[in-house]
């Protein structure tokens, strides 16, 4: 009887009980699964964006730090040990680019000074913008322009990677102020397996140029104002156009302060929703000083 009783007691569950139990179980498992999936997705996103951030910030850092050095050259000063073989004298100004900016081999307009080019390798001028920047500085601090001291950054030909110029071959006709030499060496900076660069722009629009002969109390441009601002700003008014209004026996010294705005866009290859845009200003510390003859 007791067994009967006991069996009668163990009757199993009713259909309703079973369904309620299963429903509750499913809800619990479902909730846990949804939390799991959300966590997985957000951590995936976090890791992806963090990877992209790190990669692009590192590239930006490299570019900013390097471009800032453009135009540096060792000012060797007088060469005390090697007097002029003919006169036997030491020229104290010899090769001292601090005294004579025109002797700085790393900062000559139209050859080694910083330039921004477009994809077709055309110089965009002193306030233009483009996807390639070229410049030179005295990396080994010896005062001489070497092939591996012509630097640059560019968006590659297919427009998906950033490249840094490592050297040119001047003997083969390469020049510093070209983004597309025949024999130069460029290295890709970003991880091409995971990151695509979607945009790279170097803009010089915040650069400025000062004509140091102004104010000279002469209405050089004939615009009606004596020493108006445009006369000081040699980007607005090219002093060479009004050469006759300046003293004939003096060259016109102009100082250009170059400022580069770098804009970098990138996205992940396996998840194009993850993208980043980074902008940074960099002021070139070594100003371009030149004399308009």
């Amino acid at each position: 009887m007791s067994r009967l009783n006991s069996r009668a007691f163990q009757r199993g569950l009713t259909l309703i009980e079973l369904m309620i139990g299963m429903a509750i179980g499913l809800i619990v498992v479902g909730m846990v699964l949804s939390v799991y999936l959300t966590t997985l997705r957000t951590s995936g996103d976090t890791i992806k964006s963090s990877r992209l951030n790190q990669e692009i910030a590192a590239i930006m850092n490299i570019m900013v730090n390097d471009i800032r050095r453009a135009g540096y050259a060792l000012a060797s000063g007088p060469d005390w040990d090697n007097p002029d073989p003919v006169t036997g004298l030491i020229d104290p100004d010899d090769y001292d680019n601090l005294l004579e900016p025109s002797t700085n081999p790393f900062n000559q307009l139209g050859s080694t000074a910083l330039e921004v080019h477009n994809a077709a390798d055309d110089d965009q001028g002193s306030q233009g913008s483009g996807s390639c920047i070229v410049y030179a500085y005295d990396a080994n601090i010896d005062g001489d322009l070497d092939d591996n001291e012509s630097f640059g950054f560019r968006l590659n030909a297919t427009g998906d990677a950033i490249q840094m110029r490592q050297s040119i071959d001047s003997a083969a006709g390469d020049v510093s102020n070209s983004c597309d030499n025949a024999n130069d060496t460029w290295a890709t900076l970003n991880d091409e397996e995971s990151v695509t660069i979607t945009g790279l722009t170097f803009a010089l629009l915040d650069s400025s140029c000062i004509n140091t002969l102004e104010p000279d109390e002469v209405d050089n441009d004939g615009a009606g104002g004596v020493d108006d601002w445009g006369e000081r700003d040699c980007y607005t008014i090219d002093p060479a156009d009004y050469r006759a209004t300046y003293p004939a026996d003096e060259s016109i010294p102009v100082v250009e302060v170059r400022n580069v705005l770098i804009t970098l866009n990138a996205q992940l290859i396996d998840d194009t929703d993850v993208s980043i845009t980074l902008q940074q200003h960099v002021t070139i510390r070594n100003n371009l000083v030149r004399l308009i003859p």
Binding site: I24, G25, V28, V29, T46, S50, L98
Partner: protein, 395 residues
């Protein structure tokens, strides 16, 4: 019902155990995923912090460069060669002690910035040229000393006068001396250089003095490194070779060109960028030391007795007009008058006097003693600037 049965019944009826197990496994997995993510995020944060510290150190180093340039702008001098590199050491005045803690040792100074970062600035000699150059090395450190950046730049001091004049009295117009005048040049053979006529008048006391060729120090004293005695050259009755009259190269210049030849820039630029004091009342500046003073007054009348400058701290006074001497005025340094000098008072100058118009002291006296050392000391007022092409942040 036995306890055993109870247990068995309970176990059988607890179907939730499956959900529990699944949930547990999933939750543990979530924990691991979260841990992995936070590790990545922490790493990113570390990188950003490092970047921030690096920037902080870089900015501190840049501050050091600017502080050195600013300190030099307030004054500097050449001292003995303490570091043994055969170049007299450039020492800025105590203002290089930017943190005002009272210690400036061997041109090295360390100071802490308000954000906790610090910078050590060292000045080293670069050249002995007239255009003074000095190398600045600034080592910046972040607030926790974890990051360090070094920046090098050469500081160039542009002197206020490109070349030291080599005659005591230089005039574009003529010289008419009504009273007595003594123009002395112990360092050379020329005293008055003029684009017009020089009329030294009839006063018996009037004379010019040049370096004595019989002095034991002659000709070494011609550069001013040693001192020679002087002998009279010209007087009211004799005009000697030390007086150069009617030099067309001076007479042909207009007033602005004369100024530009002398200062290397236009009057307007010079006034705007190089002068320390712009005033209409020069007498109010009595006793001033070591300044470049621009007097913006068409007719400056000096009725009182004034002294400007000292041998160690000479002045450069530029009068944009005529200068009329009433009282007794002593000027140590350079007096540049764009107009003419007139009046019955006396002018004593140690250094040099340059006149754009005519020097026609009515009945007053004019005493000028040329001194190249005093004039070179005006270089102390030179404007320092970072040399183009010399900035680098790498070794």
């Amino acid at each position: 019902m036995s306890i055993k049965n109870m247990n068995s019944a309970k176990f059988h009826s607890q179907r939730g155990v499956a959900s529990l197990l699944i949930s547990l496994v999933v939750l543990v997995t979530i924990t691991f995923v979260t841990l992995y993510t936070s590790r990545t995020v922490l790493m990113e944060q570390k990188i950003s912090t490092n970047d921030y510290r690096g920037r902080m150190a870089f900015e501190a180093a840049e501050t050091g460069i600017e502080a050195a340039i600013a300190a030099t702008a307030e004054g500097w001098t050449r001292t003995a060669d303490n570091d043994g590199d055969d170049i007299p050491d450039l020492v800025t005045s105590s203002v290089f002690d930017a943190d005002k803690d009272g210690t400036v040792a061997n041109n090295v100074d360390t100071f802490v910035l308000t954000n906790g970062s610090s910078v050590t600035v060292t000045l080293t000699d670069a050249s002995t040229n007239d255009l003074v150059q000095t190398n600045i090395t600034a080592v910046g450190s972040s607030d926790d000393n974890a990051a360090q950046r070094t920046i090098f730049q050469t500081l160039v001091i542009v002197p206020p006068i490109p070349n030291v004049p080599d005659t005591p009295l230089l005039t574009r117009g003529g010289v008419v001396i009504g009273g007595s005048a003594t123009v002395t040049n112990p360092e050379g053979n020329s005293t008055i250089w003029s684009g017009g006529d020089v009329n030294v008048g009839s006063n018996a006391a009037t004379s010019t003095q040049i370096a004595d060729p019989t002095d034991a120090n002659y000709p070494d004293c011609l550069g001013g490194s040693v001192i020679c005695g002087t002998i009279p050259s010209s007087s009211s009755s004799v005009v000697g070779l030390d007086v150069i009259e009617n030099d067309n190269s001076l007479d042909n210049l207009n007033s602005a060109a004369f100024f530009e030849n002398f200062f290397g820039t236009t009057p307007k630029i010079y006034k705007e960028s190089r002068t320390d004091i712009i005033t209409t009342d020069l007498e109010a500046q009595d006793g001033v030391l070591g300044k470049i003073i621009w007097v913006d007054n068409a007719n400056v009348t000096m009725n009182g007795n004034n002294t400007f400058g000292s041998v160690d701290e000479p002045v450069i006074i530029i009068v944009d007009g005529n200068y009329s001497a009433g009282g007794n005025n002593t000027i140590i340094g350079l007096l540049f008058v764009m107009g003419s000098i007139t009046g019955t008072g006396s002018v004593d100058a140690i250094g040099s006097v340059v006149v754009g118009g005519v020097n026609s002291g009515g009945g007053g006296s004019l005493d000028i003693v040329y001194n190249s050392k005093v004039l070179e000391s005006t270089f102390k007022k030179g404007r320092p600037a970072g040399g183009g092409g010399s900035w680098r942040d790498f070794n």
